[in-house]
């Protein structure tokens, strides 16, 4: 399951060693050293996945991410210097699917890239309609609507919603959701799930402060309404 990866990173050493690691793992890697160059390369050729540093000259990674998202659903992983919740939130808001905290070990990065690619491929094969409360979810077209009106969700939010809607009333822990939605068992950072859930609720719930579609089970995780 090899793929075409665009790596945008300004530090030459990090860029080169990351490219080496990804190529060793069997990926084709194109590199860019600033945001503008990254955008140019993205527009010039198709890619299966984007790996973006947050701090970039000329156009920062978040801006680049937003620019890409306007035209594409390609999986995007952010390389962030800090793992603060605020960075996770900002990254997800910009449309990223996941983040990798610096410093990272190459095998870890490769695992995250593979997981993201697997998801992207899996989604293409799915087909069907789900209902959750007043929401109608089209898993093939990747759209969600309430009373005929589309609700715009990011890839991650959509996947999270589908995962919960498929198993109405079943409690899912943060770890299970991490595994199923993000595609790996990532020890310890359940904040990723909580932050994404908060954003999902803000979009699908009538009153996000007293959710009716996706409920919190204290001490356990989340479940969708039956």
């Amino acid at each position: 399951m090899d793929g075409n990866i665009l790596l945008v990173e300004d530090d030459p050493s990090i860029r080169e060693v990351t490219a080496i690691g990804l190529r060793n793992a069997g990926f084709d890697v194109t590199t860019a050293s600033d945001g503008q160059e990254g955008l140019d390369r993205f527009r010039a050729a198709p890619f299966d996945l984007l790996l973006l540093d947050v701090m970039l000259p000329r156009m920062d990674g978040l801006e680049l991410c937003r620019a890409v998202r306007r035209t594409s659903t390609v999986p995007i992983l952010m390389l962030t210097a800090r793992g603060d919740t605020i960075d996770v939130v900002v990254g997800l808001e910009a449309g990223a699917d996941d983040y990798v905290k610096k410093p990272f070990e190459v095998p870890e990065l490769v695992a995250r890239v593979r997981a993201a690619l697997r998801r992207a491929n899996r989604e293409a094969a799915e087909d069907g309609r789900l209902r959750l409360g007043e929401l109608t979810i089209d898993t093939a077209g990747r759209t969600v609507e309430r009373e005929g009106r589309d609700i715009a969700l990011t890839r991650t939010e959509f996947d999270l919603l589908v995962e919960l809607a498929r198993r109405p009333g079943q409690v899912m822990t943060q770890d299970v959701l991490l595994d199923r939605v993000w595609g790996y068992d990532y020890m310890g950072d359940s904040r990723l799930v909580d932050v994404a859930m908060q954003r999902l609720r803000a979009k699908i719930e009538r009153d996000p402060s007293s959710p009716e579609l996706v409920l919190t089970v204290r001490g356990a995780g989340y479940k969708s309404a039956r």
Binding site: P103, D175, S190, M197, R218, G219
Partner: protein, 485 residues
């Protein structure tokens, strides 16, 4: 402060009251005496006139009878004299006259019968009277002139009331004046107290107004000079501390980029160590290990510099402390015995920080007593929850117990363990953020006990399973940030 004001006020009021009392009593006694003297002198003069001029001039016979007196017109003349009744003892034993005479003291009657002019203050029919008596020479009859002295008493009553009211008004005025004076005198002290309080609260710019050119003014100037120096020193210290912290933060950030490259490079090198020639392989192994160490150090420096920037956000949630600590111990140091209280102990805290603290304490215990197993205890006392990690290491000399939470502090500098020397400092910072602290004690049976103390503010929940032990099998508790219960 308040004491001085009260004493000052009381003293001033007491002085005024005492003065008013002395003046009032003095003037009352004087007026009382002079009114009575004057009244008596007037009455005596009247009596003398009657006895020496009026009666002898009326042509009475020797030893006159009552009828003679009437005939001479004397009774009528006496009746015309104001405010007096006249009783005449002609010696005929008239019972009505005898009854009147009984009202006078025998001493007065003796003096009168002896031929002198005498007076007596007495009270007849409930009214104050002055009785002046005299004998018509050579041997009678005796005349007693009875004057009504009510007017004097009324004047004195009025005077007493006036003095009393005046005294009260004076005392009240004195009280007000004293408070005003006290406030004025103590105003600089109040101002200084307020300034000192503001400085205590951290407003180093607070100063005492220099309102006068007296001792207080001098003192205020000196106080202000002291505050200036203090502010100057503290701001210089703060600036240099901020500079230090910025430096640490900058260094950590600058190290971050090459470190990221190093970590990625080492992770690739590690995969290919087997392909290296043997002498290069060992070097490669060391390199991989040292990169990991450097990574830990930089991570911890970054963590500390975030504390220094006071950029910590705390997400408190109710946590079953016993089961959380059991879980942490199981993942971080499997097999460590954990003692938890029988009753569920729920605290509002941040599990991530708590995990960091306990993990660092366990690491510390492992480092100083690698051979012996550490032990963890969770308990509650006096509104605090305690998590204690006990080891069987060499302990720490008593005088250095407090210092082990300092950054890079090593009890034995010759030891070069794997740790950065920042673990306990980080744990202490996290403990402070959670509203608690860390303290170290030497155990009597050898080894070190480090106690984390955090406040218990959460009443024990029952019912819907806020922190149900059945759920502590590994699922993280959702953070309060986005989890309505």
């Amino acid at each position: 402060m308040r004491g001085v004001r009260a004493r000052l006020t009381a003293t001033l009021v007491a002085l005024v009251a005492l003065t008013a009392l002395v003046l009032g009593v003095g003037s009352y006694v004087f007026v009382d005496a002079s009114l009575h003297d004057r009244f008596r002198d007037d009455a005596a003069a009247q009596a003398r006139f009657d006895l020496e001029v009026l009666i002898p001039g009326s042509g009475l016979p020797e030893r006159p009878s009552r009828a003679d007196l009437e005939a001479a017109g004397l009774i009528a003349a006496f009746a015309r004299q104001p405010q007096s009744d006249t009783i005449v003892d002609v010696g005929d034993g008239d019972p009505a006259v005898a009854a009147f005479l009984g009202l006078f003291s025998s001493r007065l009657r003796d003096l009168v019968q002896g031929g002198g002019l005498a007076y007596e203050w007495t009270s007849i029919a409930g009214r104050p009277r002055l009785v002046v008596g005299g004998r018509l020479p050579p041997d009678g009859p005796d005349f007693y002139f009875v004057h009504d002295a009510s007017a004097i008493e009324q004047a004195l009553v009025t005077l007493r009331v006036a003095l009393l009211v005046g005294g009260i008004v004076l005392a009240l005025l004195a009280l007000l004046a004293a408070r005003w004076v006290a406030r004025g005198v103590l105003a600089p002290v109040d101002a200084a107290a307020r300034a000192a309080e503001r400085i205590e609260r951290g407003d180093l710019g607070a100063r005492v107004p220099v309102a006068s050119r007296d001792e207080f003014g001098d003192w205020a100037e000196r106080f202000n000079r002291m505050a200036d120096t203090l502010q100057d020193t503290i701001s210089r210290l703060e600036a240099s501390q901020a500079q230090n912290r910025r430096f640490v933060s900058d260094v950590s950030h600058e190290l971050r980029t090459p470190l990221t490259a190093l970590v990625a490079e080492a992770s690739i090198l590690r995969e290919h160590l087997g392909a290296l020639p043997p002498d290069a392989r060992r070097t490669g192994e060391l390199l991989v290990g040292d990169v990991a160490r450097l990574r830990t150090l930089v991570d911890e420096l970054m963590e500390l510099s975030r504390f220094d920037a006071a950029a910590e956000r705390v997400l408190l949630e109710p946590v079953d402390l016993g089961s959380l600590v059991q879980r942490i111990a199981a993942t971080r140091a499997a097999g460590t015995p954990v003692t938890v209280p029988d009753v569920q102990l729920v605290v509002r805290t941040e599990p991530r920080r708590l995990e960091r603290i306990v993990a660092n304490l366990l690491d510390n215990a492992r480092e100083h007593a690698p051979a012996a197993q550490a032990e963890v205890r969770v308990r509650a006392r006096d509104g605090w929850a305690y998590v204690e990690v006990l080891d069987r290491g060499p302990g720490v000399p008593a005088e250095r117990l407090d210092r082990i939470f300092e950054r890079f502090y090593k009890v034995d500098p010759s030891r070069t363990g794997g740790s950065s020397g920042l673990g306990l400092a980080i744990a202490a910072e996290h403990a402070a953020v959670l509203g608690g602290d860390l303290r170290a004690f030497n155990r009597s049976q050898g080894g070190l006990r480090i106690a984390l103390r955090i406040p218990v503010t959460e009443p024990l929940p029952r019912g819907d399973g806020g922190a149900n032990p059945a759920h502590d099998s590994g699922a993280p508790t959702p953070t309060t940030q986005e989890s309505p219960s």
